[in-house]
Amino acid sequence: MEAASFAAGRVRRASALAWVRGLLSSYGLYVALLALPLVYGINDLQHAHNLTRLGQNLVNGLSNGAIWALVALGYTLVYGIIELINFAHGDVFMIGSFASFAFWTTLGLTVATSVLGLVGGLLVTLVVSMIACGALNVMIERVAYRPLRNAPKLAPLITAVGFSFILQNVGELWLGPAQHNVSDLIHAQQKVFSISGVVVNRSDLLALAVTAPLVILLTTFIARSRLGKAMRATAQDPEAARLMGINVDTTISAAFALGGMMAGAGGLIYALYQTNIWFFQGFRAGLFAFTAAVMGGIGNLRGAVAGGLIIGCVQQISDNRFGSQWTEAIVFGYLILVMVFKPQGLFGEQTREAG
């Protein structure tokens, strides 16, 4: 647009600038990500002469992040295929919590239920919640997104927000406007073991124990199964996939179903982990999880999980060091950093390939 200047000094300065910019865009994000733990690690070593506090933050962060990871998987699956930010996804996750709570109450699970009954009951609840949320997500896709396949891109985004409001209203009518405290079935804050002062609670174990197998199952399914291949093909090029005989509509529905199921599982863990559920919990969960999905490189399953765990850790460090009131700003600050430095995400290179 402007005539380029060929003065030598300018070029050198420009190249130096480009070098700095290159450096920033390749490593800036990693520096930003590591800044918090590094600063506080050194700080802890200086003051307490151990890393217990940071370790505790990270343990809590990983288990909290496991929930975000499950929600993030749904975002990344859907965005990878139809490039839609499914704003209603966080609220599907919220419905998962509510449905889990309602179902285990129906089953009659209480704090007094025997261990065996509790494990069995919660497993059934997990399945029910996953199916309910998967079905709900598919239904939303049919009603709100499919009719708009050929509409301007903004249209499905707005219907997504519309559904998000509808689901929130359902949640509010269901259990009222304030946080609803649910019975602490698993004694979430009971210590299981500790390593040099870092305590691992039951809730931490539960979150990781449910998330890990689900993630492995999902990645294997996407990588190995026929439907998984169809999903990856559709993500890469919907038109080509259609020409190759793949039923794109079915594939998209499957992505929504899988995403919903992950959200349902996340919803149950959330209810057990936090011991309170709230009609508005999905809003923040959705934004955090979307941040995680973007951080990991949208469309990349492993990236989404990694992103979720990172967001969880950032969140816990912020809660612990600055107080919970600043956490939202800090997490979203990270989101903007990711977008500025690496819009393709930390593991973005393999986006299309990884499904």
Partner: protein, 390 residues
């Protein structure tokens, strides 16, 4: 009711709006009506009250229309500019900056009452200009990180900014600058100065008419700016940018400047509306700067028709009245028959309307001509499903 039917219903309306005689005759008539009609209501009439709010939303929607409608940059954090405007009047038109000038206050062109109070008190109309400048600067800053991004990613970054600004507004009372803090936090700033304009009456909570005229004047100014901008070189650059960024760049449109100007212009209008709304509700409340506000304004733009100025005005008025009258007074009694309490269904109904609106008429009530062509002739259809990743 399918799409074509709705289209057929609104076609005459669109043709009328497109007619030049409409602009020559109808516009003065509408403006004249707008000036006269409050005289038929008492000053404290709730209808005027709701109309003032609706007009403020018209200003906001017209501002967002510049960003989303003209330039095609999806902004989900528009509430940030409402916040900037609110804090402009909070800082420069209340007792918030209490210690300034040894608690005697700083006063500039204000009447006797705020003129005797501590804090900074600058004339309302000057604060509106300050707010426009502040918000424009904030808009450009928010725009910067989105320059390399496209579509949904812009939406997410702006959303994050909106949330961060809300968070800072709520926690700003802990950010100290000497004896000052950035905001009053969740405690809010109350009360806020009112405009001081001789001749239109007393700006009190008991008399909504002067408020109405200030809001109407603001709407007319912003409307004028919008029309002029749309038909200017800059406006055409925005539309070129929206249609095809690469083509626009190769045709010599300065992308960075054009994008930032879009953000700044839209933000300035939002800031001005924010001043008026905060002064009118007499409070700057950090809790009102939330995501759903952005969505509410965006829905007005989309309902009216992206990029279409008269459509956006219509959309803003329609949604605003739908909220203040449609939901409680029309749907309320209807839902009561089914044993439902409409006060508990407000945002569910709103969400339902959003979905319905998009499914039935994604192009809006009065779509911009260019957009209509896209919709019917499939130009730009490649945007929909297979857009290149950001």
């Amino acid at each position: 009711m399918d799409l074509s039917m709705l289209g057929a219903l609104t076609r005459p309306l669109r043709e009328i709006v497109a007619n030049k005689w409409f602009n020559r005759i109808a516009v003065p008539v509408v403006i004249g009506f707008a000036i006269v009609f409050p005289l038929f209501f008492v000053g404290a009439s709730p209808f005027i009250n709701n109309t003032v709010q609706a007009l403020v939303y018209v200003v906001m929607a017209l501002g967002l229309n510049v960003v989303v409608g003209f330039a095609g940059l999806l902004d989900l954090g528009y509430v940030a500019f409402y916040a900037m405007g609110s804090y402009a009047i909070g800082w420069f038109g209340s007792e918030f900056l209490y210690p300034v000038n040894h608690q005697k206050g700083v006063h500039f062109l204000v009447s006797r009452l705020p003129g005797s109070l501590p804090g900074v008190h600058i004339n309302f109309f000057i604060v509106i200009v300050i707010a426009a400048a502040l918000a424009a600067a904030a808009g450009a800053v928010i725009g910067l990180p989105t320059l390399r991004l496209r579509g949904d990613y812009i939406a997410i970054v702006t959303l994050a900014f909106g949330e961060i600004i809300g968070n800072i507004a709520a926690n700003g009372d802990q950010l100290h600058f000497g004896q000052y803090t950035l905001t009053a936090g969740r405690q809010g700033i109350t009360p806020v100065d009112v405009p001081n304009l001789p001749g239109v009456g007393d700006f009190s909570p008991l008399n909504n008419r002067p408020w109405y005229y200030v809001a109407l004047a603001l709407v007319l100014i912003v409307l004028f700016c919008n029309v002029r901008l749309r038909d200017s070189r800059l406006g055409r650059a925005w539309i070129a940018l929206r249609e095809d960024e690469v083509a626009a760049a190769s045709m010599g449109v300065p992308i960075v400047r054009t994008k930032l100007l879009a953000y700044a212009t839209g933000a300035a209008f939002g800031g001005m509306a924010g001043v008026l709304l905060s002064s009118y509700t007499n409070t700057v409340n950090a809790d009102s700067f939330n995501f759903s506000f952005s969505i509410f304004v965006l829905a007005m733009v989309i309902l009216g028709g992206l990029g279409s100025i008269w459509g956006v005005v219509l959309g803003a008025l329609a949604l605003s009245y739908f909220n203040t009258y449609g939901i409680p007074d029309v749907l309320g009694p209807f839902l009561k028959n089914f044993g439902l309490d409409v006060t508990q269904l407000g945002f569910g109904i709103f969400g339902f309307v959003l979905v319905l609106m998009m499914v039935l008429r994604p192009q809006g009530l009065l779509p911009e001509r260019r957009r209509k062509l896209e919709m019917t002739q499939g130009i730009g259809a490649d945007e929909s499903l297979v857009e290149v990743n950001a």
